[in-house]
């Protein structure tokens, strides 16, 4: 039973790596930090990340809703935070999206 779920997990990870969602190197670093003394490290970090991201996304949505005018500085700040945490966890695709978003902020591109 356990072997199956291990294999499933391995497959899932591999597809995330291959599709560029997850940065293999960074995620592996996280896994290396997990050991017998800290068996749930990865889980804890990922959970924190989800919670943090949910909060950030809410803030971003709110900021986007205040349309006239769009507060690009605020949005850029949120994006910086989001990008930072995505980077630390290896969420590669998300990090790239953040970078793109920040470019839009920088150029004042509301449509983007």
């Amino acid at each position: 039973m356990e072997r199956n779920s291990h294999r499933q997990l391995a497959n899932m990870k591999k597809s995330l790596f291959d599709q560029g969602y997850l940065d293999q190197e960074q995620f592996t670093q996280l896994e290396e930090l997990q050991d017998e003394a800290n068996p749930n490290f990865v889980e804890e970090v990922v959970t924190l990340y989800y919670r943090d991201s949910a909060r950030l996304i809410q803030n971003i949505e709110q900021a986007l809703a205040e349309k006239n005018p769009l507060d690009f500085t605020k949005l850029d700040n949120y994006m910086h935070q989001f990008k930072g945490s995505s980077c630390s966890i290896g969420a590669k695709k998300l990090k790239n999206e953040c970078t793109q978003f920040r470019e839009y902020c920088r150029t004042g591109n509301g449509e983007g």
């Binding site: 050991d35 970090v45 943090d52 935070q81």
Partner: protein, 215 residues
């Protein structure tokens, strides 16, 4: 694993406004057997180090400062650059401007690779600049800074006693005999792995007869 067991653990203060990065750096440092304290802002870092901001609303705390610092014994500060309020650079400057804290090595981290920022930090006194995400290989770079400052701090503390606070002279002679015993052990180890820097030798010439063994 217990090679350096006789020497007390190095204490690192990690400063980052991001919870995830704090968790990560804490884990990285603990894995490398350092004692870690994390705070989420520069002002809390200074508070922990025993240095209050001068224009704060809490003047009564300033008198307590030096005691706290000495009891806490932080050997290295690693801080994020981008933080609201006080940036990592501001924190670096405050530490380097403080007579009691300026010998503590400071490392700056940032997710952004901005060369001008990096050189500004290094010129401001930062020992190293790490790009995020920080890896285990980066953390291993901390050790030489910690090793160098640990023995420097002990010497500097003794020098300060002699030059400044006369009432502490009584304590310092006790410390001297303790350090003498300790540094005998340390000298043997240091002979193996130390890259000798002039900073270490200079204060020792102030009168430690033990030094000749070490060099």
């Amino acid at each position: 694993m217990g090679v350096a067991a006789a020497e007390s653990q190095f204490h690192v203060l990690a400063v980052d406004d991001s919870l995830i990065d704090r968790k990560l750096i804490e884990r990285l440092l603990k894995t490398s057997s350092y004692q870690v304290t994390t705070v989420d802002s520069g002002s809390k870092a200074l508070e922990f180090l025993g240095l209050q901001e001068n224009d704060s609303n809490t003047p009564h705390e300033t008198s307590v400062c030096p005691k706290i610092h000495q009891e806490v014994g932080v050997n290295l500060v690693i801080t994020d650059y981008c933080m609201p309020g006080m940036t990592g650079y501001d924190l670096l400057k405050k530490i380097k401007e403080s007579s009691s804290l300026k010998n503590i090595p400071v490392i700056i981290m940032s997710s952004e690779n901005v060369p001008s920022r990096i050189s500004r930090c290094l010129e401001g006194g930062a020992e190293e600049f790490f790009l995020k995400p920080v890896r285990l290989s980066d953390v291993s770079k901390l050790r030489p800074h910690l090793m160098r400052t640990k023995c420097c701090n002990q010497e500097n503390e003794e020098n300060k006693c002699w030059n400044q606070e006369k009432q502490v002279n009584i304590e310092s002679s006790e410390i001297e005999s303790q350090t003498a015993a300790q540094s005998n052990n340390k000298n043997k180890r240091k002979a193996i792995d130390e890259g000798i820097s002039p900073d270490i030798t200079r204060p020792r010439y102030n009168g430690h007869s033990l030094v000749s063994n070490h060099l």
